[in-house]
């Protein structure tokens, strides 16, 4: 398991480097970027393009080492991020980006994290119910509702939720953030589409496990449905599920950008959306990497869970015959 974790961490570091290079490259290539700076006029030109006050531009030239070759610029960008020296942004010149992130990021992280946990648990529960009742009305009803959840875009789901729980029944707040109950609807809006596909996946995976030879063995030993599902098949059917949780998470995190805007939650999503709209390149660069790091950490957790569930991964690092 130790070697497995080291390996995962190494891959993560590699992925981080790649994402940072791509981000840096894209930002340099983007039209009107302040990073296009030749010693002579680039900085001034870009600054006028972007309506940046000259003294701020000068501080950028210093901060981003715009008078040095690109690899030096990249190095300081990377170093700044890793050491959490995020500097200042164009949009919020008086507020250190670090404090901006401190103020908004926890909310987004909390939103994404609770949506992941709730989504996974609900998917597993629904999937198990449908699989155990395979080919009955329980199965088809559960799966029909799940499909509806996936088919409807999350912003529509969000509006329906706001309408029903916030406007008609008035039991849940729909705007702003003053407490945990403000989380409920946004999390629901994020989770419903994810649950649609994940619960179906869980169902099929569990049904496949339940049809394996080793389940026949369980019955041959005198076990019943309960022993077959909870003693054997469930754990094994989680393995394929976990591999799809990873990609789902990335989508979910991006979903928070829309959902935060809809529910007026003061999270990273709003900062990020504004930064993109205002071409606030320094802020885009920082927040993109931050989102990437979150996705990578979540994927690491997914991988570790996988290793925890499958002894073959844990002990020899791979599964034969896959």
């Amino acid at each position: 398991m130790f070697m497995y974790i080291i390996k995962r961490l190494f891959y993560m570091a590699l992925a981080f480097l790649l994402v940072s290079i791509v981000t840096f490259g894209l930002m340099k290539a983007a039209p009107g970027t302040f990073l296009i700076n030749t010693q002579m006029l680039g900085g001034v030109q870009a600054a006028t393009d972007l309506n940046i006050p000259p003294q701020l531009m000068n501080s950028f030239i210093k901060e981003f080492h715009l008078n040095s070759p690109w690899y030096v610029q990249y190095w300081f960008y990377l170093k700044g991020f890793v050491t959490l020296h995020f500097g200042y942004s164009i949009e919020y010149p008086s507020l250190p980006t670090m404090s901006l992130i401190k103020r908004t990021f926890p909310l987004t992280l909390g939103l994404a994290f609770s949506a992941t946990v709730v989504g996974t648990i609900v998917s597993i529960v629904l999937g198990v119910i449908a699989a155990v009742k395979e080919h009955t009305w329980v199965d088809s009803t559960t799966m029909f509702i799940a499909t509806l959840g996936t088919a409807i875009p999350s912003y529509v789901t969000a509006i329906v939720l706001m309408l029903v729980f916030g406007v008609w029944w008035r039991i849940l707040p729909i705007l702003g953030f003053q407490g945990i109950q403000h989380y409920i609807l946004p999390v629901a809006a994020l989770v419903i589409p994810v649950v649609g596909s994940m619960s179906r996946y869980m169902r099929n995976s569990l049904i496949e496990s339940l049809h394996s030879d080793y389940i026949v063995s369980v019955y041959a030993k005198g076990g019943g449905m309960r022993q077959a599902v909870f003693g054997h098949a469930l754990r094994n059917s989680l393995l394929p599920l976990i591999t799809v949780v990873g990609p789902q998470l990335a989508g979910l995190l991006m979903g928070t950008v829309i959902i935060e805007n809809l529910f007026g939650l003061p999270g990273m999503g709003q900062v990020f959306a504004n930064a993109a709209q205002q071409k606030d390149y320094p802020l885009i660069m920082v927040s993109t990497l931050l989102y990437a790091v979150v996705i990578m950490v979540m994927n690491l957790l997914v991988d570790l869970t996988y290793g925890g569930l499958d002894p073959r991964i844990r002990k020899i690092g791979y599964v034969q015959g896959r």
Partner: protein
């Protein structure tokens, strides 16, 4: 004394979208306590289906008729709950492919003790003690540590030994082994066979040994049932196999066993394809299409007639006396 296992007139049909499969067609079989029988036949002859019917583990698309008496009780009439009390305790099963028949993500210890836990026979800790003893008996070194290993950490032969130990943990009266050595190398195959036979003798269990290999069957069993197309073609004592056999199908099988001391000639084999049992059965003998002794009578289905106490056969050649064969 009543036989340990007595199957009478067992038929199994599988219903699928396209057609009905006549997998087993009126099979009789009997096994006394402490004895071993072998069921021999080509792949698809219905051997596994019979055994799964005995365990009542067939898929839901199977319809079963007839009687399967274990110690005088017809298990086909038992409710599922009562059936569960028999499985793993009164009768246990060893499957062909140990690799896929064990859960890859649970230790073999956890899987081995399940019969005792399911039947509330012991605490997990006591059951593990029993498991250690059994692993030792089946020849797994360092059983205490091995209990915490996963199936992928064993070789095929070792895993088959583990499966045998697992089947024996609740001390069943009847052990069903469905091609337990088919997936193994020849040398390992012989070792596992000897082990199985030894354990059966020591414990005085009834053993049903399913195989497609007549030579193996003759080594292990007292009685041999030869199956073809879901019918028993011939039932014969292993000791009389080469001297008294009647059925042309069995003769074909015997001739296709390689002889170690004989001349190295090309082995004769039974020409033709195994009969298709999907959709329906022919009116006559199911083997007729491949039989070199076929004659007019074979358009009618032969009865299963007794020649002696331990010898019976389904062939028109036997009707007029054995000497015709």
């Amino acid at each position: 004394m009543a036989p340990l296992l007595e199957i009478s007139n067992l038929s199994v049909r599988f219903h699928s979208d396209k057609a009905e499969v006549f997998a087993v067609n009126g099979l009789d079989l009997s096994l006394d306590t402490g004895k071993a029988i072998a069921i021999v036949g080509e792949s698809g002859s219905g051997k596994s289906t019979v055994m799964m019917a005995v365990m009542r583990l067939l898929q839901s698309n199977a319809s079963i008729t007839g009687q399967v008496k274990l110690d005088g009780t017809d298990v086909l009439q038992l409710p599922e709950k009562a059936m569960r009390r028999l499985r793993g305790k009164e009768m246990a099963m060893v499957f062909q492919n140990a690799g896929s028949s064990m859960n890859p993500t649970k230790t073999i210890g956890d899987q081995m003790i399940e019969p005792m836990l399911f039947h509330h026979m012991a605490s997990a800790r006591d059951a593990r003690q029993v498991a250690v003893k059994l692993l030792h008996q089946v020849g797994i070194p360092d059983p205490e540590e091995r209990l915490n290993n996963y199936p992928f950490e064993f070789s095929g032969g070792q895993l088959q030994r583990v499966m045998i130990a697992m089947a024996l943990i609740a001390d069943p009266k009847l052990l069903i082994a469905d091609e337990p050595t088919t997936a193994l190398d020849v040398t390992v195959q012989a070792e596992v066979l000897i082990l199985l036979k030894k354990l059966q003798r020591e414990r005085g269990m009834g053993l049903v040994f399913v195989t497609h290999d007549l030579a193996v069957a003759a080594q292990v069993a007292d009685d041999i049932y030869v199956m073809y197309g879901g019918f028993v073609m011939e039932r014969i004592a292993a000791s009389e196999l080469t001297t008294h056999l009647v059925h042309p199908y069995l003769r074909g099988l015997v001739q296709s066993i390689p002889k170690i001391d004989g001349p190295r000639t090309e082995l004769p084999y039974i020409p033709g394809q195994p009969i298709s049992i999907t959709g329906g059965l022919p009116d006559g003998c199911v083997f007729a299409s491949r039989c070199d002794k076929r004659f007019v009578k074979c358009h009618e289905r032969p009865r299963h007639i007794s020649i002696s106490q331990q010898h019976s056969v389904s062939c028109w050649l036997a009707e007029g006396g054995v000497e015709q064969a």
